[in-house]
């Protein structure tokens, strides 16, 4: 079947088998390998993308669900438009050593961006609750939580034009 959707701001039309997972479509058909497949059982969250602004696990999403929708992947994140800078959440992960091997990072960042959106401040408890669906086997989460809190503050400062 043919599906049309907006992928990181670009209109995209592809032919897919209905039994295609969005994670497979991105990685194998569209050659966008920023979205990782960790567990492939909707536990680990390495494959999180935003579907119409909401965080979803792309390993547990059928491609037909994209038809008419807007999809944002880790490749679509950026700082100020056309600035070629990292997104504030990505900057915060770099500054706070929020990754070690980096495998879980795309999903962590996408979940964190969704969590921080429209929230003036995030408590540590809210961050930990919000990251329940993302597993990291390296860091012990401390620096990820720090990164998300710093990234959320930076996103809100940017939104206010500070």
């Amino acid at each position: 079947m043919q599906i049309s959707f907006t992928l990181n701001g670009r209109p995209t039309t592809v032919d897919v088998e209905p039994a295609t997972l969005v994670a497979e479509l991105l990685r194998e058909q569209l050659n966008m390998t920023g979205t990782h497949i960790g567990c492939d059982t909707s536990q680990c969250g390495a494959c999180v993308v935003h579907l119409d602004g909401l965080p979803v696990k792309s390993c547990t999403l059928l491609a037909p669900a994209l038809d008419g929708a807007t999809l944002l992947t880790i490749e679509g994140l950026q700082g100020a438009p056309d600035s070629n800078r990292l997104h504030p959440m990505q900057e915060a992960f770099r500054e706070n050593h929020g990754l070690q091997c980096g495998f879980c990072t795309p999903g962590m960042v996408m979940t964190a961006v969704a969590l921080a959106k429209d929230k003036p401040s995030l408590s540590e408890a809210e961050v930990r609750h919000g990251l329940e669906g993302n597993i990291c086997r390296c860091t012990g989460y401390q620096n990820i939580v720090l990164s998300v809190m710093a990234g959320a503050a930076a996103m809100n400062a940017a939104a206010k034009g500070e």
Binding site: S42, Q43, P55, L62, G133
Partner: protein, 265 residues
């Protein structure tokens, strides 16, 4: 996953017709249970009928003495709803504890209720609050809907369209979650109405069930101390890799007390 045909009807009667006319077809709502099931090849339907394009199945409406939640409303929307938070805060809290944020973006109340997973949260909310399941053909009281392990009163071709909740005087939900899956090892919803208290338990047995001795005790005295001495019989409770039946039985009383505490605010 084995290949399947994919249908996206936009009217409920069309969806019902597809469901009855295509042998071995399945409905897909948010897919949070079905897609993993397909991936493990525990099911390989010939066709999926996607409910996401059906008109009128999404959203939360205020009926004055009730709240009606469309079957395709995702958990995140119920958790964030100002109306649900104001009128049945226990239900908003329950929705906020399901799975993780990504699961709550996609998973729907109708899908959860139709699937009737023995450890899912919504069956406890629906049974504990004495809700009504509205389908494409009729209305079914929660007490007559949940029949056992993954089994409901739904007939072939019948589609849940909404769940209607009466407003309790007070209600609370507490769950002890399995840490990896966030499913309920035991979850208890306690709801106080003018005519008595309802207590519904998920996770402990092969399906959601009520606890009449706790309901009677709490109807007399709506306080955690009223049920502290009530022990649950382990007969029929689940023993598995996560917990033995006697541990689950113990947790029912603990979670019920916490749910009453939550209801009392």
């Amino acid at each position: 996953m084995k290949p399947f045909a994919y249908h996206q009807p936009d009217q409920i009667p069309d969806a019902a017709k597809l469901l009855t006319s295509i042998e071995d077809s399945k409905l897909v709502a948010g897919g949070m249970t079905l897609i993993p099931t397909l991936k493990q090849r525990l099911a390989s339907p010939a066709a999926l009928i996607d409910l996401s394009k059906l008109a009128g199945l999404k959203g939360i409406s205020d009926g004055g003495t009730t709240i009606t939640i469309g079957a395709m409303t995702p958990h995140a929307e119920v958790a964030a709803s100002k109306l649900v938070q104001a009128k049945i805060p226990a239900l908003a809290a329950l929705a906020s504890m399901i799975g993780d944020p990504a699961v709550r973006s996609r998973g729907t109340i109708g899908g959860s209720v139709a699937n009737n997973d023995p450890a899912a949260d919504y069956p406890a909310g629906v049974l504990g609050l004495g809700a009504t399941i509205v389908t494409s053909t009729r209305e079914v009281a929660a007490d007559k809907f949940f029949l056992g392990l993954f089994e409901t009163a739904l007939q072939p071709g019948e589609i849940i369209t909404a769940i209607r909740f009466p407003l309790p005087l007070k209600a609370g939900y507490a769950k002890f979650k399995a840490p990896a899956s966030r499913y309920a090892l035991v979850g208890v919803l306690v709801a106080k109405f003018a005519d008595g208290v309802r207590v519904a338990v998920t996770g402990a047995g092969p399906g959601v069930f009520r606890v009449p001795p706790m309901e009677q005790a709490l109807s007399q005295n709506f306080d955690p101390s009223a049920i502290a001495a009530i022990k649950i019989d382990t007969d029929g409770l689940t023993s598995d890799i996560h917990a033995e039946a006697d541990y689950r039985a113990h947790l029912v009383t603990v979670m019920a007390k916490r749910a009453v505490d939550a209801a009392l605010g």
